[in-house]
């Protein structure tokens, strides 16, 4: 390689990556920039990244007071936490049985799980809605949580991982006198940390960001999740001002993005593993 091409290669690489990176980042930069500006600067004909008059405090204060932003975030945490906890409770024992126990109907059940993987959740919206309507649960936290506590994907993922754990571990645990459910919670779960992390990240990211179902199941602001909350805020009076609206958007996307930046590898590996099932 000539010295010139040796120099040119990296420059070209960085130049192109900065370009595509800018495409990825621009909405975030734009969002932050607008969230710090007073209205008159937003509508100025020439654009500046940093505001001349810093209006960040007002905008974020408006976002927090005009809409229950904190409430949205807490709702998101509560709903995602509940969903994942219940998913574990239901899916892990089933995955263990599918992976490690012999019983009649095992193959049929696994086939059902595989078929379940094919069904997009939006296709079940109507009957779920009817079910919750019948039980009078619409517009409650239960409406946000209940339809999701069975996850064919979670069963599948955990089953695949459990299968990779050697049977000897289980035999040894049985010889040590552990009951079958103790084995699940005390032996298999700790050994499956990577798979659990992948499942957890997948589940939380999916439900934090979901708009379709909350839009159907929930009307009141009090129990709105973040994705729905920001829409309610926009359609609200205060949301007509772009500064506070962008501040609101920043507040909504921040928790996941910060979590991601802290544990990048985990998130990327987890989501990639979930996809490469």
């Amino acid at each position: 390689m000539s010295p010139l091409s040796r120099l040119l290669g990296p420059i070209l690489r960085h130049a192109l990556l900065v370009l595509t990176g800018a495409f990825a980042l621009l909405p975030f930069i734009w969002m932050i920039s607008l969230s710090l500006k007073p209205p008159e600067e937003i509508f100025q004909p020439d654009f500046q990244l940093w505001p001349t008059r810093f209006a960040g405090f007002e905008n974020y204060a408006t976002a927090f007071t005009a809409a229950p932003m904190l409430r949205f975030l807490l709702n998101g945490a509560l709903v995602c936490g509940l969903i994942f906890a219940l998913q574990l409770l239901v899916c892990v024992p089933c995955a263990y049985a599918l992976a490690k126990l012999r019983f009649k109907g095992r193959d049929t059940l696994f086939a059902c799980v595989l078929i379940g993987l094919l069904v997009p959740p939006q296709a079940l919206a109507i009957p779920h809605f009817v079910l919750l309507y019948v039980f009078g649960l619409l517009d409650t936290y239960s409406a946000l949580v209940l339809p999701w506590i069975i996850s064919a994907f979670g069963i599948f993922l955990m089953r695949q991982f459990f299968r990779s754990i050697p049977d000897e571990v289980i035999h040894a645990a049985r010889l040590d006198g552990l009951g079958e459910f103790e084995i699940i919670w005390r032996i298999m779960m700790p050994m499956s940390a990577p798979a659990l992390a992948a499942f957890g990240i997948f589940s939380v990211v999916a439900h934090w960001n979901d708009l379709f179902w909350p839009l159907i199941a929930v009307r009141s602001e009090d129990i709105s999740t973040p994705a729905l909350g920001i829409l309610l805020f926009r359609d609200d009076e205060a949301g007509q001002f772009l500064g506070p609206l962008m501040a609101g958007a920043a507040i909504i996307v921040a928790p996941l993005l910060i979590a991601f930046l802290i544990a990048q590898r985990r998130f990327i590996d987890g989501l990639a593993a979930s996809a490469l099932k």
């Binding site: 290669g9 990296p10 960085h14 192109l16 990556l17 595509t20 990176g21 990825a24 980042l25 621009l26 975030f28 734009w30 239901v90 024992p93 089933c94 049985a97 599918l98 126990l101 012999r102 019983f103 059940l109 379940g116 094919l118 069904v119 997009p120 939006q122 296709a123 079940l124 919206a125 109507i126 009957p127 779920h128 809605f129 309507y133 339809p147 069975i150 079958e180 459910f181 699940i184 990211v205 960001n209 708009l211 379709f212 839009l215 159907i216 973040p226 994705a227 920001i230 829409l231 609206l245 958007a249 909504i252 996307v253 996941l256 993005l257 990048q264 990327i268 989501l271 996809a275 490469l276």
Partner: protein, 309 residues
């Protein structure tokens, strides 16, 4: 009954069988919550959708009649349905190549040398993690005809911008751009994991065999070895694009003049805005059928085509 009691009661039952019975009992206990919920929340509802689609039920209505396939007949006669189906297909056709090619390009660039690898990966992955409804609002302001960043940037080059989201000709295009923006980082990550799996010895062999230019390596080793991942990314991107909803709902509500109406916004509107449950269910059945058919044929194709066996 204790174990010894059982042994006395059935001295002829071999030990292994009894052990098997115990294992089966535990298994039954372990799977029963999942089985009940699979039936109650997944397969039951799926069956219910099919049943609803054969009725004229409206949510809240006291009674309903089985009307056979009338809902489907109405659906297939509905120009709006075809419009939504066509728009969805167009959206998929726009988003898939954009996402896959951009993701591949970024993955190749990132893996080309170690400099700033982690930084670039994180930057490109941020959109994947972000809440679409919030970011769609942000995109809405970026595409704003006067104050939006896009038109301001175009203005720098002396190009007159459009009102992207309010123009019948560009609304779907703008939404596809947003779709690519959110998805290409994920494609990148999958391609990177595919690139890491390419054995170094193949590049060495290629160098000894006389292929050592970047493009020759790309053609002889990298791209063929990425075949399975590419197929997979295409399928994944396509099925995600097929489910597009959030950005449409937030930005255009299917408009203007249904130019950006897609299957899921149609499904939502019929089922939950107009509460035409039977009709919505018929639409859902069609949607479900398409998704399942796509997934199955693609999985077939995947198996046959890309395993170099």
């Amino acid at each position: 009954m204790s174990v010894t009691a059982m042994e006395q009661a059935h001295p002829s039952v071999p030990k292994a069988r009894r052990h098997g019975a115990r294992e089966a009992a535990i298994a039954a206990l372990a799977v029963s919550p999942a089985v009940i919920l699979l039936a109650g929340l997944l397969f039951g509802p799926a069956l219910a959708v099919v049943l609803f689609s054969l009725t004229d039920w409206q949510l809240g209505g006291a009674s309903f009649n089985f009307i056979g396939l009338a809902n489907f007949q109405a659906l297939f006669a509905d120009a709006l349905f075809w419009k939504a189906l066509g728009n969805t297909a167009l959206y998929v056709v726009l988003v898939v190549p954009g996402t896959v090619l951009l993701g591949l390009l970024v993955a190749l660039l990132i893996e080309a040398s170690p400099g700033l690898r982690g930084f670039y990966r994180a930057v490109h992955f941020l959109p994947v993690m972000s809440t679409m409804s919030a970011m769609a609002i942000v995109w809405g302001t970026m595409l704003h005809p006067t104050i939006g960043l896009v038109n301001r940037l175009l203005g720098v080059f002396g190009i007159a911008g459009l009102n992207w989201l309010r123009d019948e000709h560009t609304a779907l295009l703008a939404l596809a751009l947003i779709g690519i923006w959110q998805g290409f980082g994920f494609a990148m990550v999958l391609f990177v994991s595919g690139l890491k799996a390419v054995p170094q010895q193949l590049y060495d062999a290629a160098a000894v065999d006389g292929c050592d230019g970047p493009f020759a390596r790309l053609r002889l080793v990298t791209l063929p070895m990425l075949g399975p991942v590419t197929m997979f990314v295409v399928i994944l991107t396509a099925s995600r694009a097929f489910e597009v909803f959030d950005s449409v709902r937030v930005l255009t509500q299917g408009g203007p003049n249904y130019a950006s109406e897609v299957l899921l916004t149609r499904l939502y509107a019929e089922s939950f805005d107009y509460l035409r449950t039977g009709y919505g269910a018929a639409l859902t059945v069609v949607y479900l059928a398409i998704v399942v058919a796509l997934t199955l044929t693609q999985a077939r194709f995947l198996e046959r085509r890309v395993h170099y066996a």
